[in-house]
Symmetry: C2
Subunit: 188 residues, 2 copies
DNA sequence: ACCTTTGTTGAGCGATCATTCAACAAAGGT
DNA sequence: ACCTTTGTTGAATGATCGCTCAACAAAGGT
């Protein structure tokens, strides 16, 4: 999974997978049928082990709800080990490559993106319930905007944009989208 | 150029390039030295023929300044021919693939992204000058946010997100970032 | 007419790719 | 002990990759 995240599907050879998994080609093909099958499995694993976990930790289990939004974004570029290149997000990277892959990738990416967008939406609805967000806020629409910004940040992360610039972007763009006052505002 | 935009560097073979350019492998290598050299040339051509032109048309030559911002974003997904898959942006696609390419791509993408971000900034400063934007607006910061959103939209464009959803995203996110009132607001 | 220059051609090169398979090893049931 | 099952191994395969180069054609100067 880490190999695909770092190198993408096309740049990953079966030898890379052998070195990463410790399994020889025969075993890999016995278990997954093809390189594409292994990629599909890796994408599904990423969805439930990385994406879903991040959604749960930052968006579902935060109080107040809006608090986790910033850390959710920041976790994509701050948890990188010191000076190593950040591989970005397997979903974003695959969303770019998917149109060139036979039948694979598309479904997994669609599932992953919906996972994230739904996570945004759930969090926004919680914020409405607690009064941190105006009841008139279009949560569906805001979730879609957040997803777009999220993908854009991950493109810049992958490209190696300095962390300070990324931090500035999310620190200013998030309040602009979800509303200027992240804490305490009266409903009419 | 169009081939690289559609298929990316890794998925493009020299045979693809032969069919796309009409030049046989010998001539290609006589002119560009390698597949990487040709890619670098294509990226530079994209910057000045597509990116720079779009910046000029939508961001530099619009009156009032903020008017072109929406059409700049919309042009990435509305000018697609009917039902054909939109290849997205060569800059965005290459920003994802660049970490896996030897020495190429990185510089061209950096130049292209700066081209766009600077275009945003110039337009925002014009908007400040005409009074369409508050003089206190942090144009540098806003330009960076717009660049991030732009990349995110292009990821979704590439993946095949329906046009109506993309239109909703830019229609609501842009005013949220640059300020809720795109027209006429008094300076203190 | 001839030579030089400049560009084109496409078969062919070694390398690498994803994939297969006959041989082998380990484990479990009986 | 033996057989069956299950998984592992890694060399071999054909296809495709990026790339080269000797042969060829066109054009221009003289």
């Amino acid at each position: 999974m880490a190999v695909f995240r770092r190198k993408g599907f096309a740049h990953t050879s079966v030898q890379d997978l052998q070195e990463a998994t410790g399994l020889h080609p025969g075993s890999l093909y016995k278990a997954y049928g093809s390189k594409e099958g292994l990629f599909t499995a890796a994408l599904a694993a990423y969805n439930e082990q990385v994406a879903a976990r991040r959604v749960q930790f930052h968006l579902d289990e935060t109080d107040p709800p809006l608090r986790g939004l910033h850390t959710f974004f920041a976790s994509t570029f701050s948890d990188s080990d010191s000076e190593e290149a950040n591989p970005g997000c397997l979903l974003t990277n695959t969303a770019i490559e998917a149109p060139m892959l036979p039948g694979i990738g598309r479904d997994g990416v669609a599932a992953g993106l919906e996972l994230i967008e739904t996570g945004f939406r759930r969090m926004l609805e919680r914020a409405v319930a607690t009064g941190d967000l105006a009841p008139t806020a279009p949560t569906d629409q805001l979730a879609a905007e957040l997803l777009a910004l999220y993908q854009g940040v991950l493109v810049l992360v992958r490209f190696g944009t300095p962390t300070v610039k990324l931090a500035d972007i999310v620190a200013n763009a998030l309040p602009a989208i979800v509303g200027p006052t992240p804490r305490g505002q009266g409903a009419p």
